[in-house]
């Protein structure tokens, strides 16, 4: 229904810095646009590339003062932490291998962190970051974007209210097709780093896609994986990391599940789909149709709920910006993650207590879960696709 959405209240205006995201990168610009959408933070500093030239050019294009463009993230963390007008948080959007070092540098100097997923390479690194954030009482967000969708938040609320009963089975799939081409040999920068273990870590398809399934299922259900059996396939010629993976999982409540991630599935763009089955009903979400959520109650007609049309849980509804049928998408979901994080940060700065809803963004703990999941998948596969405990 079309109605006023004009909640024009004084909203936070924070400053942020960015590590990574220079010219030639993809995801940095996506983060900047998502933050700009709601206008709650402005970019003020950056170390956009290992190339100083790139950092300077990018910074100039973004209107950042020359003195706040840095050659290394260490220097940036050090210098920013001394400023009166220092950044309120840093956004880390480098290839995976550099996440840990950068995050540590800022956390150590008391600067909250937003880091792209996966959080880092090793579980031990992830635990260290978690402890550091906790010790320094710093908010830490890991940008699993898809939980930012209002439809996902409503699905989570339905499950929490018991609308689908006791969960017994879950499927997650995330097929893409783009690595059917040998793009890493054709200079595609994304392909180059994602298929290189030095830059991407232990896994490609599980690290990039499977970890989204893992996180989204956990967000929907609160379930944790107890054990898994994973088979990682290297299908593209010459690949040393997986580009396709099948993972059987068992959750702590006894429910079972199966995940499939692929970058060699012809006909699929970015088809993340998660289905949660309980003994009373089911919830199904498809990222490519992210304004909707399928909700089935056994014995009643199945429904596809539309953001803006069907009454959503109030917390979920609060993230919807425009009426039903006016599609929101990827930028808006990521903006919702940022809106929550920035609002929490602003409340924290003002000394206000944070509620559960205030903390509804993916945290360093989610990041840790992801890193453990990736590592265990690789371990299981390396042993011949056998069951391993988490």
């Amino acid at each position: 229904m079309i109605e006023s959405s004009a909640n024009i209240e004084f909203k936070p205006r924070l400053r942020y810095g960015m590590v990574g995201g220079g010219q030639g990168s993809f995801i940095g610009d996506v983060h900047r646009k998502s933050i700009a959408l709601d206008g709650m933070a402005e970019i003020a500093a950056g170390c956009f590339s290992r190339s100083a030239d790139n950092t300077l050019a990018t910074g100039a294009a973004l209107g950042i003062k020359r003195e706040r463009l840095y050659a290394t993230y260490e220097e940036m963390a050090e210098e920013e932490s001394k400023r009166a007008d220092k950044i309120d948080f840093v956004v880390i959007v480098t290839p995976n291998y550099a996440h840990y070092g950068a995050a540590k540098a800022f956390l150590s100097r008391g600067i909250p962190v937003v880091c792209d997923k996966p959080l880092c390479i090793e579980a031990s690194e992830a635990r260290e970051l978690q402890e550091l954030a906790e010790k320094n009482k710093l908010l830490f967000c890991v940008t699993y974007t898809y939980s930012g969708n209002p439809a996902v938040k409503h699905g989570k609320a339905l499950i929490k209210k018991g609308e689908i009963g006791k969960i017994h089975f879950i499927t997650g799939e995330y097929p893409q097709e783009w690595l059917l081409a040998p793009s890493e040999k054709q200079g595609n920068k994304q392909a180059v780093w994602r298929t290189d273990p030095k830059l991407a870590g232990k896994s490609n398809s599980v690290g990039d896609l499977g970890s989204h399934i893992e996180n989204l299922v956990h967000y929907f259900t609160g379930l944790k994986i107890k054990s898994l059996c994973a088979r990682l396939d290297k299908i593209g010629p010459g690949r040393v990391l997986d580009d396709n993976a099948t993972i059987m999982v068992e959750y702590d409540n006894g429910a079972k599940g199966v995940y499939w991630s692929s970058q060699v599935a012809s006909g699929y763009d970015n088809a993340l789909k998660v289905r949660i089955f309980g003994d009373k009903g089911a919830v199904e979400f498809n990222e490519e149709e992210c304004n909707y959520i399928k909700f089935s109650q056994f014995g009643k007609p199945t429904t596809v709920l539309s953001r803006g049309r069907d009454p959503f849980d109030p917390h979920a509804q609060g993230f919807s910006r425009i009426p039903s049928g006016h599609p929101e998408g990827y930028f808006e979901a990521l903006a919702n993650i940022y809106k929550t994080f920035i609002t929490a940060l602003a409340k924290q700065k003002e000394g206000k207590p944070l509620t559960e809803d205030d903390l509804d963004f993916p945290t360093v703990e989610d990041g840790l879960n992801g890193v453990v999941f990736i590592g265990k998948c690789v371990e299981s596969s390396d042993k011949g696709a056998v069951w391993v405990n988490l």
Copy 2:
């Protein structure tokens, strides 16, 4: 395109008998209607139930002469085999446990057999039937219905012509929701026998649904499963057979796959979906939209081919009865299986040689493959979801 389909040529008129399919059964009537659609065979004899009353009532309703209604399939096989106007083939549509005995009875007396799937319980029984059919040179059809769809046949032709390249991954899923209800305790006859190991055999969901995936994938690709790792779940309270199963498979060409069958997946009616991914493209079939087949070629726009509209392989096209957009469905697919089988039988009777296309129906070998598959899934699951070779 609407055009003449009037191939009114002299077509075979054979006689058939039926074992099972009396009042209260479901699938017997479906087979009779499917055979009637094309009018190539008429029912002439039957043993429709273990209850003689049921057989008599059913036979009378179907207009069968009293003398050709039998108390046991043994009697029926024996008596029919002596008649000058004996049945040309028998259709066996009992619960699974009785398939073997009935099939053997007719094969032994030289009568060709059409048997519902799964073929029987034990692999040894299946092999015996296969040998018997071979020895007596009798055609034997196992009614995996879905390969009867023209869209499936066209997909098979695309794959055979190399249109999707070398196959590297396959997904198959077959979710239903009906056993979310404790139907077997509520007197639903289908539920009663399918969940009872004495009547259904070693597996419920893999036997009923998973075996369809196994057969359809084999039909599309010709690939055979080399090893598998299966987890069979008993989710409904009190179930002794599986109602949900996840199966990782590896094929003889090195390709990998994952199958999921379920009768406890809220929101799903009969959603058999198979996706075959190769290094050049993919083919995807969804039984609930059986007039279409999705065909993806990497680097070209993905297409959904429509039966009757888009040019199909001539053999596939030959099974289409009406123009595009006029839906054909389950009966028509099963009728296609029967049309092929009956035509082959008639040619055989006339001493004509049978081509590969003539034999394009699921055979006793497909039935054997299915029984082996089911047995191995149960074995793998019983051992803790470990890998077993086939």
Copy 3:
């Protein structure tokens, strides 16, 4: 849900004859297969073509006795009406122009009629047939197939129960693409007669497609058209009859509507879609997805009801043969029309009274409405797309 559908009761076994439907025709074979599906009537006589050779060949292929193959429908009506084992009804599936004469011949001799739509060319002819049927107390069915779908029957029941409130607007569309090709110049028999006013009558697209919309809307709602404004387009080069038409209508209850029929709409196979909007909700049916019906209630989640899964009105449910997710299609819908007509005929022969449900097949009155509709569309268009009253 899978459950027994075994209503094996003694069912009628009637005899029918056919006029039209010889080799090279399309729809005759479709009718024969649809009748065969349920096995309630057998073909016993025919005049399949103006060519005696064709009639003989077709009759022989169908196993009809030589003596019951006729050179003209007049002869057939005359001879059959004298036989003790005369046909119980005749099926007329000629091109439109011959419907009137054939129907009259059989009605005059006391033989009930099933006639393909549109009923005839002139409204006066239609009224004559209606009066003749009434006078001779003969059942007369006009095969508007689509009302045979169980999903349509359930939609009608929903509307009748007031579930969508007072109807205020209706859209109907029926796009096809096949006449984008100049098929009539390429020898396509269907195209030849449908684009020829001598064989098809006053209209092509409205006669073939628009009249289906008109009938289906009337079936759903009971509404009658009060006035209309139609524009018939002749788009294909050299066409003398319309191949595209837009029709604004007003109904007797004050509701409004708009219809569109086309044979030159690239990308569409047979996409009949009707949407009925009321002040409380809406019902939407799409023939290409004929196992489903969309049901919207304002203020509640929109649902897509699935034949066999969702509880249908008992009368509608009675026409469903197989469980949900097992598609039924065009043949099954037409078979439902025949099942109803034949059952009514059998009851009538036994002197039993006929209920409203017994008469749930399209009648000569529906046929008359269609002929009037077509004529008025042509009249409006010829006058410059102005409003005309019906």
Copy 4:
């Protein structure tokens, strides 16, 4: 395909003001967010409401200096035009009735205008604004959002290249359901002004929705409407403006079309759909699935082209921000309109010539066409749904 989108070049940073869009309004915030997404302009002045309090509160929330918040648009135009740091353009997002006066005030003082659609109430006003913009050489954008979609731009390119041949028929529909409720009596601000002729003008559903169809069809095809026959319905109790409308149109090339707009169509959110049929193929766009465009070529498989996956026309592709399968939506489409307008403005300021691609935003001429269209629809309907020339 995921690849670098990092076109970080120096981009314009302009200043804009806003008329309308205060607290309680809907569309103002949507415009501000869309402009913010790409960061090419910042808000610097405003007259957000007829209520000064609202303007002050809104301006404060947006961080605008007190001195640049104005009580009337006249004052704002006058004062801003005198400043050295004056706004580069104004955005007018008031209810329809105030568009004309506000636009005139800024145009007269040499300030370029972006105005929400419909441009104004009377065709004479629209012509005056067009002349004023032309005389003063000022860019003028009317925000018909949907032409901002990359998929629409690609469809336009396909049509321009002749891929669908000569256009012969067009359908446009835009159903919504929200005014099934008597929202204007329940205080819904959107409903109040849209159903009030003093605020909305001569039409509600044609003005709000039908005009989008008109514009989008024109954008796709370049065709202009020559004559139309419209029937405007007032379905909701007590409505004095239409909430449903059917419009038959004829274009200047002889092609025909039919449009339907509705706010009382249960089950529809915002379902703008346009289908363009030519003698070689068709293009179809559905706003609710705005990342895709259906493209049919007669005789070839129909395709659904995916933004980011399938090769788009370079100009269209340039408006895509993220890879395929990552949905973009309403904000991104509107941002594309603004990006084009702002870039053109910046080039114009620098004295550079503007190309056709630079001017690919809806202009005051499009606005004029819309106002004429709305007026003629009302005229036709008032005369009894007769044909009128444009």
